[in-house]
């Protein structure tokens, strides 16, 4: 489960998209303990659908911000004000988003009666006392920008970094600040399987204050969390009773993690600095709910009470888990997990990084062997005071994936009749296990049917079955009886079988001309068909092929004789992220899988 650690800085975005932003200006002023921000847009309404799209403009203000001013006007083509939208017509929405509650707010600014040729001008002013002295400005918007100017003035020494720079943008230093200018900026237009925008879209990051490196961020968060009351007896008592009679630190860790994963449900309430500061562990324990940092802090405290040293770990849990590391700021993180020091007690297969076992207390499946993919394949910041440091979490692809096995026999009419079974593990299995527990059996049967239909198009299925598999990581088994009409085809004297691999890679077309990194599903996908032939059938044409590279590999083998054949395809994707430098290699792998998917297993009837 992904959990949001905190809201980022100011978020100002159009509810609608399109049109062209003729001018956008952002002014930030940094002072001791405060950040004021002013942002204005001048938008040209250019076509009919712009009228609809810009009928409402949404302004979202973060947890610690206060909206100090907002003006909204409609102008004619000559720039004359046609009408202004009074503040009373702006609709406030508390706590937008999916959190149970947050102190962020949205204002909806209505622009009824817009017409093509008119312009919309919005100016928003906010003030905040940031929980950490940093902020950011997203360069791109959901509409193209003719001109962008960002002016940052500061009464304090300022650090800055332009992440993911692009040729349309230039930053210059000014007296006491910086200025960013951009022109002819394209709209934000993420391609399929793009990682979070923060990882590839230009953004100006600024920071001030004394925490100037990542160790400083770790110290800052250590102190912030250190201010939270701790050491309460009820937490210690729970740790004691949970680990009583349990032998070894690993099993104690496992038991305490399972308690937090099962008995404390995920629920996010972020009010002001509460987006970053967890509620005290004893409160979270008493109420039985909390967000990622609260569940993690509780687990750290429980472990401490059990004599196991543990730390909070900050990471970005979005698609593609890289973070911009040039400028140290906590706003790159959105998730919090736990690293426990259990030393040699760790078992083979545990997610050990830097000698620490990583545990995600928000995971829906209790246990410590399985780390959700959202925490894998990325750098994470261990929060440990002066010893805070980056850790690199590898992708644990071997625990993610699926294995399809079809066993059957070709009938007189060319149909394949048999049994299909699918074993899934990791995240996909976790979803199945939740369904097994809490979804009506008819619905599960339908879902199993749909799963097999997507793997073997054209087949009909009956007698759907499913079960959880007893493994230390989420694993599930699905099965059904299968009939695939026309599995054996003959055209112009040539025979072939209508079987093939389950896809696991994206279509190669997504790599054409691509420069934006691509998110992958790390894991192993296996398809195995064991097919018996009727008398007089032909032998399969043997295949043995392998395409391997750093990102992963594809293997295909076909063996057998006139009575039975076995075809197997295995795709291993070892990383959840393909950076710009990997795209060429990935394209080759995707093409290989695409070709394998379309190539039929042919039968040789000449021998």
């Amino acid at each position: 489960m992904r959990a949001v650690l905190a809201g980022a800085a100011v978020l100002l975005a159009a509810a609608a998209e399109s049109a062209t932003i003729l001018e956008r200006k952002v002014e930030l002023h940094v002072a001791v303990g405060s950040l004021t921000r002013s942002e204005s847009w001048l938008v040209a309404i250019q076509e009919d659908r712009d009228v609809e799209r810009w009928a409402e403009f949404s302004i979202t203000v973060g947890l610690l911000e206060e909206l100090t001013g907002c003006t909204a006007e409609v102008l004619d083509a000559a720039g004359k004000i046609v009408h202004s939208v009074p503040r009373r017509r702006m609709r406030r929405i508390d706590s937008p988003g999916s959190d149970l509650f947050s102190s962020s707010k949205a204002w909806i600014v209505p622009f009824p009666g817009l017409a093509v040729g008119q312009r919309v001008r919005v100016r928003v002013e906010t003030r905040e006392s940031p929980v950490f002295p940093a902020s950011a400005v997203d360069v791109l918007q959901t509409a193209g920008q003719e001109s962008l100017e960002v002016v940052v003035s500061s009464e304090l020494p300022l650090r800055w970094h332009l992440a993911n720079p692009c040729p349309e943008v230039a930053v210059t230093a000014t007296e006491g600040g910086i200025r960013l200018r951009g022109s002819k900026l394209p709209r934000l237009d993420p391609p399929e399987r793009a990682p979070d925008a923060s990882l590839w879209v230009p953004a100006l990051h600024i920071a001030w204050g004394s925490a100037s490196d990542w160790a400083g961020i770790g110290r800052w968060y250590t102190e912030l969390v250190g201010s939270v009351p701790r050491g309460r007896a009820e937490v210690a008592a729970l740790a004691r009773t949970t680990c009583a009679g349990i032998d070894g630190r690993r099993r104690c860790l496992e038991a305490l993690a399972a308690h937090v994963q099962r008995a404390v449900r995920y629920e996010a309430v972020a009010i002001g600095a509460g987006g970053w500061v967890p509620a005290p562990a004893h409160e979270v324990l008493a109420r039985g709910w909390g967000d990622c940092k609260e569940k993690s802090n509780l687990l750290v405290e429980l472990l401490a009470a059990a004599g196991i040293r543990a730390h909070l770990v900050l990471l970005h849990a979005g698609d593609g888990g890289m973070v911009e590391r040039e400028l140290a700021t906590p706003y790159v993180f959105n998730h919090c997990i736990v690293a426990a020091e259990i030393g040699p007690d760790a078992a083979a297969g545990d997610p050990v990084v830097g000698g620490l076992v990583l545990v995600d207390p928000t995971s829906t499946e209790p246990g410590i062997v399985w780390l959700p993919p959202s925490c894998q394949g990325r750098p994470v910041l261990l929060v440990d005071g002066e010893r805070s440091r980056w850790l690199e979490v590898p992708d644990r692809f071997e625990l993610e994936g699926r294995a399809l096995e079809v066993r059957g026999r070709i009938g007189a009419g060319g149909e394949l009749v048999g049994e299909a079974a699918l074993e899934v593990s990791g995240l996909e299995a976790a979803l199945w296990l939740a369904a097994f527990r809490s979804v009506a059996q008819d619905r599960v049967a339908v879902a199993v049917h749909e799963q097999f239909t997507s793997l073997v198009p054209g087949a009909s299925f009956a007698r759907m079955r499913w079960a959880a598999l007893d493994r230390p990581y989420p694993s599930a088994w699905l099965a059904a009886e299968l009939t695939l009409p026309g599995a054996l085809r003959e055209v112009a004297g040539r025979r072939s079988l209508r079987i093939g691999p389950a896809r696991s890679l994206p279509e190669a077309r997504l790599l054409d001309g691509r420069t934006v990194p691509l998110v992958l599903d790390a894991g192993v996908v296996r398809s195995r068909w064991v097919v018996g032939f009727p008398a007089g059938a032909c032998r399969p044409v043997a295949v043995s092929a392998r395409s391997g590279m750093a990102l992963g590999a594809l293997e295909a083998t076909v063996t057998g004789d006139a009575e039975q054949m076995t075809a197997e395809w295995v795709t291993r994707v070892e990383r959840s992220w393909a950076g710009a430098g990997d795209l060429g290699e990935l394209a080759a792998l995707c093409r290989a899988e695409g070709l394998a998917e379309r190539t039929r297993v042919r039968l040789d009837c000449e021998k």
Partner: protein
């Protein structure tokens, strides 16, 4: 699911509106704040699973409502109590809840507590209750709260009281929900001097609702009770919850005033009379102050030559020029036509009334039409209840025909209705007598998807060509102004075509849209990608780009519990034209089981002209019925199964010697 609480302020004549009250449509039980909580039976404490629902994540143990109508219509109240047990890990999601409130339906006295599996009782702390303003318009607020220790095996108790200033409460009491319910009961306390009637609907034969009346010091109490109520199953394309849930509505028919019995919801006439109001409230009040609106209408139609052009000019102004407020329902507040015009915003009823007033100013007669989208439940014409209607249309008399106008949706053209308002029973409320009419419904042939692929195989086995997709009717509506601008639409269509035509590069996409004619046409050029070229074999999906990958109706008829409601009827056709070079051989016709039944039909054609080295394959599916009950589901299922099977087939052409 959107629910309305049709609370009206005042005994009669007083207007309020139906406002969505949020997701927590549960009920509650009396017990004012501080009162004792009900005893929890030992059987509930030991309950692990619900018979018949082994996977239920949670169960409603007890839902109780007590509706006390205030004789003066000033302070009626609904007391709600609900007790839920969490049965699985996923059931813990029921530990967080939300309640909607407004100035017309004021939720107060919220209390809740958890019985933990080890027998402790934990009260809901005040700091776990959060109020979120959703709109200052009628003070719409959502109260969210997180129950403490809501783990597997926990029992959650919640109670609150909602106050409203009326004797009319148009929302039903639902005995059913998405969870199984062991016991659900609602008590209506009827004040003296009123006659009430009920609308009780049982949707499943297995659900029995007992009714009992008794005299008390507070008046007459009418109690409805149901036990062991099954959950409403989550089935694809099922009717909306509002149509499926067993429920009761209790409505005041008459009250005994100083001049004798006065009709309230006794009939549609009396109801409409209340809503129309007088100089001080209601529709009449709204219309009395609409002079500026009428003047504006005259300006708008100055250049229009026909009545239809005039009507559409006014319609577009209201649709696009007046922002939508999110309150629904047909009862209005105290605004006027000119007030809404001045404010530049209004809810569905206010926008419809403004449109009507402006049409009047333009010399076009019309009636307001109360309506409810079919995906939010069907209207029962036998029960005069304004709470049944979520929206208001305008039925304009234009050039001898009746034009239904819906000014609440920017994508809806003049005289066009969205699919969910087509074929719906609507009530015209401005004539001498209320008149029920059915809105027009687009026939299947009026909503088409037609795809044509014109392809050729080269000597080296690569396939290239072009494609077109033409959408009309509701299919077009779904994709008109699909994206924010033309460039983005073209990009989205390119991605759509590339996804639907796996193995091909799709380029040169051109999109043309005609909103008034409800037509979208997409053209593209396509070329097989390197990794899809097999040199001596071409195998093309028989129904791409409109392949039905999954039959959504795989559940056997004997297991299907709910009727099917499709969005609309339609026709979908794919035509593949393929040419190949000399020396290649076409395969047999793709398997296709022609099907024709009450649900619709599937037809396939496959013709090969060997001399010309061309083939033509078509697949046509027509859905003729939108709603499918009982055995009709089997027909729909068979049609979809045949279509999915046919769509999994391939058109094959082999070349070279191969093996």
């Amino acid at each position: 699911m959107a629910r309305r609480s049709g609370a009206w302020s005042g005994v009669i004549g007083v207007a309020c509106r139906s406002l969505a009250t949020g997701a927590l449509a549960f009920g509650a039980a009396s017990a004012a704040a501080g009162a004792d909580w009900p005893e929890i039976p030992a059987t509930e404490r030991s309950l692990k699973t619900v018979p018949g629902f082994p996977n239920a994540p949670a169960v409603v143990l007890f839902a109780q409502g007590r509706m006390v109508f205030d004789e003066e219509g000033i302070s009626s109240r609904l007391e709600v109590y609900r007790r839920v047990k969490i049965l699985t890990r996923e059931g813990t999601e029921y530990g967080s809840m939300s309640l909607g409130s407004s100035e017309f339906f004021r939720v107060k006295e919220l209390e809740a507590r958890t019985h933990t599996p080890d027998g402790r009782i934990v009260e809901l702390p005040k700091d776990a209750v959060f109020k979120k303003e959703r709109s200052s318009y009628y003070n719409r607020v959502v109260t969210s709260f997180a129950m403490p220790e809501a783990t597997e095996g926990a029992i959650l108790e919640v109670r609150y009281t909602a106050f409203f200033d009326s004797v009319i409460y148009g929302d039903p009491w639902y005995f059913q929900s998405e969870l199984p319910t062991l016991h659900s009961t609602i008590t209506y306390v009827v004040p003296p001097g009123y006659k009430f009637g009920h609308d009780l609907r049982r949707t499943l034969r297995s659900v029995e609702v007992a009714q009992e009346s008794r005299r008390t010091s507070a008046g007459t109490e009418v109690v409805y009770t149901a036990a062991n109520v099954p959950a409403i199953p989550d089935e694809p394309s099922r009717f909306p919850f509002e149509d499926l849930g067993t429920r009761v509505i209790f409505l005041p028919l008459e009250y005994n005033g100083q001049l004798g019995w006065i009709g309230l919801l006794e009939s549609w006439e009396t109801l409409i009379n209340l809503v129309q109001g007088n100089r001080d409230y209601g529709y009449k009040h709204f219309r009395l102050s609409s002079k500026a609106a009428a003047k504006k209408a005259k300006e708008l139609v100055a250049g229009a030559s026909t009545p239809r052009e005039k009507a559409c000019a006014v319609f577009r102004f209201v649709r696009d020029g007046i922002a939508n407020d999110d309150a629904s329902g047909v009862v209005i507040g105290e605004r006027t036509g000119d007030g809404v015009l001045r404010a530049g915003r209004g809810d569905v009823a206010e926008k419809a009334l403004l449109l009507q007033a402006m049409l009047d100013g333009a010399g076009i007669s019309s009636s307001l039409a109360w309506a409810n989208p079919l995906n939010h439940g069907r209207v029962n014409p036998k029960v005069p209840n304004p709470g049944q209607f979520e929206t208001a249309l305008v039925a304009a008399e234009v050039g001898g025909e009746r034009l239904f106008l819906d000014p609440s949706d920017a994508r809806i053209g003049c005289g066009v209705l969205p699919a969910e308002l087509e074929g719906a029973s609507v009530l015209l409320v401005d004539g001498r007598k209320p008149e029920w009419v059915t809105t027009p419904q687009t026939p299947p042939a009026g909503s088409r998807q037609d795809a044509v692929l014109d392809l050729a195989v080269s000597a080296d086995g690569k396939v290239t060509g072009s494609g077109t997709l033409t959408l009309t009717g509701h299919h077009a509506y779904d994709r008109l102004r699909w994206k924010e601008d033309k460039e983005a639409s073209a990009k989205a269509w390119t991605e759509w075509a590339a996804d639907a035509l796996s193995g091909f590069d799709v380029t040169g996409v051109e999109v043309s849209e005609d909103a008034e004619a409800r037509k979208v046409e997409v053209k593209w050029v396509m070329a097989q990608r390197e990794e899809a070229v097999l040199a001596d074999e071409v195998a093309l999906s028989a129904a791409a780009p409109l392949t039905l990958a999954q039959n959504p109706f795989v559940l056997p008829p004997e297991r299907r519990m709910t009727p099917v409601q499709l969005s609309y009827t339609d026709v979908e056709q794919v035509e593949l034209r393929l040419r190949w070079p000399e020396g290649w051989t076409p395969g047999p016709a793709p398997r296709c089981t022609a099907t024709a039944n009450g649900a619709g039909s599937l037809r396939c054609e496959y013709t090969v002209e060997a001399g010309a080295r061309t083939l033509r394959a078509t697949r046509t599916v027509e859905i003729q019925r939108r709603e499918h009950f009982g055995n009709e589901y089997g027909e729909l299922r068979a049609l979809y199964a045949a279509t999915a099977a046919a769509d999994a087939e391939q058109v094959v052409v082999l070349g070279g010697s191969g093996r």
